[in-house]
Amino acid sequence: MVERTPFLNFFTHVILFVGFVLCIAPFVVVTIAASHNLKDVNDVPMSLLPGSDFWLNIKTAWTTADLGPKLLNSFIMAAGVAAGKVMISAFTAFSIVYFRYPGRTFIFWLIFVTLMLPLEVRIVPTYAVVANVLSPYQTILDLTGLSWLVEKVSGVQVSLSLGLLNSYSGLILPLIATATGTFLYRQFFLTVPDELTEAARMDGAGALRFFIDILLPLSRNNMAALGTIMFLWAWNQYLWPLLITTDQSHATAVTELKQLIPNVGGIPEWNIAMAGTLIVMLPPLIVVVAMQRWFVRGLIATEK
């Protein structure tokens, strides 16, 4: 760019090309392996020319791992998390930025702390809560003596119970319970000019109307970026769905991959496994390619 450096330019091209090959190779290998028959895929070395069994393998993988309903589950979970995050983070950021009620700073920190500890490190107790989401409230009632009081007065025994194992809410809600997104909105709301708020108030708009008619439309870019990131993040979740979907009907596509690991005995069916892998990795890849701009923007904005 600034000066002529033919030698360095040559190396730049070589290294970037090697990087490109390493980045793309797994995709290519998976696709080729998915097109071979059982014998060819286990050849050493495996032929890099595509075989002819691609659709057959895809079909076998699809039925073995029951991918149709599982992909639908994945989609519902990912869309639910994305939508929930986009809405709830907006609410919270609005509350933190635009109001001056006592305890606001405390709430801010309460939410900020959740960034520190990801779901993975507190899976065991979170699992117990999801098994009965009302258990925290039951315990509080018991400890404060309220349930005793209620039982004495009305004769009704208080036992709150609502299990969310094997349900979409169980999959989605705990994944929404973190602060990512709230800060994205907060940063953005802080850049919205005060004059706009003043003008809205002058015209008689209350908090609710200002939020719905002015703030939300202005946040469209943020919503797209956050939605993209959260969709991908939720789609790629593994440990959480694995734990709480003890029943096959709510399992997601990513957790179903495990069904496709070839058995130790016999000739490993790598072609089927790779076909399944291809199906599972395709939707997020399409989202990344189609939403590239929002993806990059959302990633950089949510993390900082």
Partner: protein, 294 residues
Amino acid sequence: MEKRVTFSSWTIGILFAVPQLLLIFTFFYWPAGQAVYWSLTLQQPWGGGNIWVGLDNFRSILSNADYWNSITASLVFAGISTGLAMFIALVLAALTDRQLAGSRFYRVVLIWPYGIAAPALAMAFRFILAPEAGFMAVVNQVWPGFWDPGLDGADAMASIIIAFSWKYVGYNFIFFLAAFQAIPRSLIEAAAMDGSGVMRRFRDIQFPLITPTIFFLLVINITESFQDSFGIVDIMTSGGPANATNLMVYKIYSDGFKGLDYSGAAAQSIILMLLIIVLTIFQFRFIERRVHYR
């Protein structure tokens, strides 16, 4: 920064915060508190009350060789994969930022790996690195017994490091490239006018200016290596062979849900939480000093 113009209705303001607060109370603070409670008591998985045991759970875990093995494996994994993923991404981003022909193309493709679910890419690498089929089989034909992640712990560790690094090169690339592009072009041109070459400019201008990003990515990569590794380990090695890849989150999962040792798993969770918090503080405290902030 604060808003000058706000709304006066407290009720509406608090109501807007309620959904989030309910969620984080139910799914974050309560479980976190429960983890602390469980780690200090001994609970029967099938009910029957808890017995207060103080720090006994921690003592029994910390005197367990398997647990120390798991910590060592996690640290080795975190160190090598973070170093690898960050170094490769830094080189690729620096070269892409030179904006030669084709750099737009690389900018698009090199971020793809980050979109892939860890278990899916683990499956791909399980095949690519399989000793009997795939590509390492070729190497094994030349040197029989050279590579077998199913038997050799070091090979298994290398496999999960390769899979994890591949994904996070894409992630780090996005941030490094953004950081390089944020450096004003005029700064680089001025340095070029003063007669500095490409390497010199990288060392004295670009590198110091992206240190905040390096610092930030270091923290993220290490914490992600604790969490996002679960899917990779579960699909590729299941913690084996002989616990060589039994990373901390995987061990919490297998002790808690397969072994039904809730108290032990809770104590391990607490230790992992502390480790992540300490790492974050350590990095803020000691690395931040050498970081050039704009």
